[in-house]
């Protein structure tokens, strides 16, 4: 389980809100991986995570671009590596759920996300702060995006 703490904060609200939501999705997935036998519910959780991650990466990549962050190509490659892994996970799970060690996957995804936020994302913070007003304006637009949401989907709630 990842718990949000100040060392994970980037100080960019739209990104921090995304990260908090992502952490809750990944924690829910980890919880399901541990206890849930309902394959459909697990598929839905992975699907929701995949979708939200794609949208979050897109928002982050837009902000990196507008503030001309020099390492953004490398950062995008990290995003791509992660989404490829989640894709493979979905494909393999679709073929035969039993082939996937869900607990190990949950640990891997949590560790990846934790270290990506704590290390890679810190890399763009200074550059985004230097372009604060532009980042703020673009953030407002990103928040209007239909894909931006904080409500915990009902079907993911762990009872």
């Amino acid at each position: 389980m990842i718990s949000w703490n100040e060392t994970l904060s980037t100080g960019i609200d739209v990104i921090d809100d995304d990260h908090k939501f992502l952490i809750s999705l990944i924690n829910q997935f980890a919880e399901l991986a541990e206890h849930c036998e309902d394959l459909a519910q697990i598929s839905i959780a992975v699907g929701a995570l995949n979708e939200y991650v794609l949208n979050h990466f897109r928002r982050e990549e837009i902000l990196m671009m507008v503030c001309t962050y020099s390492e953004r190509r490398q950062h995008q490659r990290e995003h791509k590596a992660f989404t490829d892994i989640v894709d493979s996970l979905q494909q393999l799970y679709r073929l035969r759920p039993r082939l996937v060690n869900l607990r190990e996957v949950a640990i891997f995804l949590s560790d990846w996300l934790n270290s990506h936020i704590a290390v890679s994302d810190q890399g763009y913070v200074a550059q985004m702060r230097a372009h604060k007003s532009l980042v703020d304006t673009v953030s407002t637009n990103l928040r209007d995006d239909v894909n931006f949401r904080f409500d915990e989907p009902d079907h993911l709630r762990v009872s």
Binding site: L95, L99, E104
Partner: protein
Amino acid sequence: MIYWDPKLETGIAVIDEDHKTLFGLLNALLRIIDDGEKADDAALAIAALNDYATGHFKREEALMLLCGYPGQDRHERDHNAFRQGMKSLQHLFSINAGMVNLRGVSDFLLNWLQQHIAVSDRAYVPKMQESSALIAKASENLISCTSFDL
């Protein structure tokens, strides 16, 4: 250790040889798992199996096409689902071997192969037998492109 079951024979030599090779490659993987699965070796065995399966599917699909087998689309979908799943498996395994349940993989592969050969492959046999001269001729070419030999 698994053994080739003569009941699985289709009577089309090039295909039966391929199927036996696939069983041989699966045995190699089973051995590695039984020996305590060194991840590098398991990755190689899975890659060898996937590569050979890909070549085999191509050969089989070429023969189905030649003899005008009407169930080809469906059969190819089965091949593609298998290939896609195995590609994902290889990918996850290379990132972190622990994410894949290898014992589950060997059971899955054995069941899938047996089932696929006994049911899906069985279905094209009559059509291939009708065109046996053509199949025999085409098989000579297919054998010469077989790049993997055990």
